[in-house]
Symmetry: C2
Subunit: 349 residues, 2 copies
Amino acid sequence: MRETPVPDLTYPPLTVAGLSEAELLERIFPRLNRGPETNDSLLLGPGDDAAIVAVPDGRVVLSIDTQVADQDFRLEWNNGYRSTGYDVGWKAAAQNLSDINAMGAHATSLVVSLTMPPETRVAWVEDFADGLTAGIRELGATQCSVAGGDLGRGSELAVSVAILGTLDGRAAVLRSGARPGDTVALAGTVGRAAAGLALLESGPNVSTLTREQRGLMDTQCRPQPPLAAGPLACEAGATAMMDISDGLVRDGNRLAAASHAVLNLDPAALRQLAEPLKPASVLLGADAMAWVLGGGEDHGLLATFAAGRPLPAGFTAIGSVEAPASTDGAGVTIAGRRAESGGWDHFAN
Amino acid sequence: MRETPVPDLTYPPLTVAGLSEAELLERIFPRLNRGPETNDSLLLGPGDDAAIVAVPDGRVVLSIDTQVADQDFRLEWNNGYRSTGYDVGWKAAAQNLSDINAMGAHATSLVVSLTMPPETRVAWVEDFADGLTAGIRELGATQCSVAGGDLGRGSELAVSVAILGTLDGRAAVLRSGARPGDTVALAGTVGRAAAGLALLESGPNVSTLTREQRGLMDTQCRPQPPLAAGPLACEAGATAMMDISDGLVRDGNRLAAASHAVLNLDPAALRQLAEPLKPASVLLGADAMAWVLGGGEDHGLLATFAAGRPLPAGFTAIGSVEAPASTDGAGVTIAGRRAESGGWDHFAN
């Protein structure tokens, strides 16, 4: 993985206001869909009014997600780090690939819309395209191509990605299928991105971070959703699944509500998840367990499986599904006690 | 078509900052996919990590487009008009449906991402959902469902829509197939949205507009792309096609470049297109022909057909395709003379 972007040595730096849309697209296209893999599903790529993508099994899994500067990521952080275009492109890929993963599908194509202030540097946009391409490839979504996009001007930087996936003939894993007795399991990490966010917002200067701390920061800036785990869980008969983007408890509450069930989490398993975050929590005077329960953006998978069945590779048991005591009793508990929600809501204060 | 939104009589008005994301979604969902038609292609609608859409012919046509307040539309205009949420929802639908139309396909589903400042009124968002739904239905895209979406916060209002379409087994009509001798034809209108924009930006107060002037303004705020014409042109063997979103000459140059051809437009046909815009151009001291040649956003269709074949319903001949005199000679001419580009570029000044 590349750590730093190529510096822009022109002065004054070339900005998007200095190029036409066509000139900017000419700089972006060659940076997309690079790599050793060939992708047969992209029947018509960028450049016409729309793209055409093959959908062999007759159904497409479809999602859209937008990231806005200073809401979903910062361009400049308190600890001195500056998000690169590469980071933003990677994160846009990761976040959307994760939604497809959470259905048990794998991604076949995406389209991206980039809204930019006119003073945005062209080198930043090129770096964004590189990060998008690298995220797709390095996260293992080798069947996913960038089918097209849209460039526009705005006063704040924003990235929208819509993504398509295929289930290869399988049934999707929804949020609503968890049943009492099922095992609750997790793939990927939780809390690392939240720890990274805390380091970026109030930690020591980025230049002094240890390798371990830098790793936490990278999980915030370039998340690593476990893309193999979604289709594996689907094949293994997962009864319900979703990705954790707003926090384990908040997203767990959503899965629990959709399934009319209680997800009762095991405190010992949660403590084990918090353990590797201890050094950073001590450094920052923070609570590692709050990161585990409330931190989103690692894009791990929360899934349920019928009891007694072996969990697929990458999943660890963290609790069990129980019947709610009352009709409005669905939600997440920890050793039987209702968990505080925490986590991220775009609007509620 | 509803002309005015329901007024918000609560005080202080309820804003999106006063609701959680879930509460806001509860207000939006019932407003989507309303109408008499049932749509079998939406296999899984909003509410999970992703939607699932049926794709009977094994290929999906795919596009994405973003509109940003004060770039692609204004919330308050100089003539006193205020864009309603209904307008913005309608325009988002129209613009994206047009991209699918331009491939010769019809839309099957879309996903929408809405980025809003926290002070956005909830009534505005509800109105947006109504306008999106009405745009889809009243423009005739009755097979198109809203499959899902994303809500987020930002400092400026922005709407991204990604849309899927089907070709029903036909080959798509690309921009690159125009051949010397073909007839150049137009479906829908050109110049009306530009005239409407001029009225909104420098015309008389909205309350004093005539019915005809108000109609021009409506073409800017609620475009009427000719959605039947795209699939008809495809069936009739159109050799090339695109929608006119940035202006007849600018988009014509793109089609010409993709086809390595010259689109030679007929001055008499152009004058006929300018004729109905004369009263507004006289009122504003503007040039009706500049609106015809440079105005985008009507989302008419520019297409080419083999000579001598009858044009499908809705299309009018406006010129013919010629071979370029040199390798870099592709472009739009009027009676053999190179046309000035005009039109809209997001970045170039």
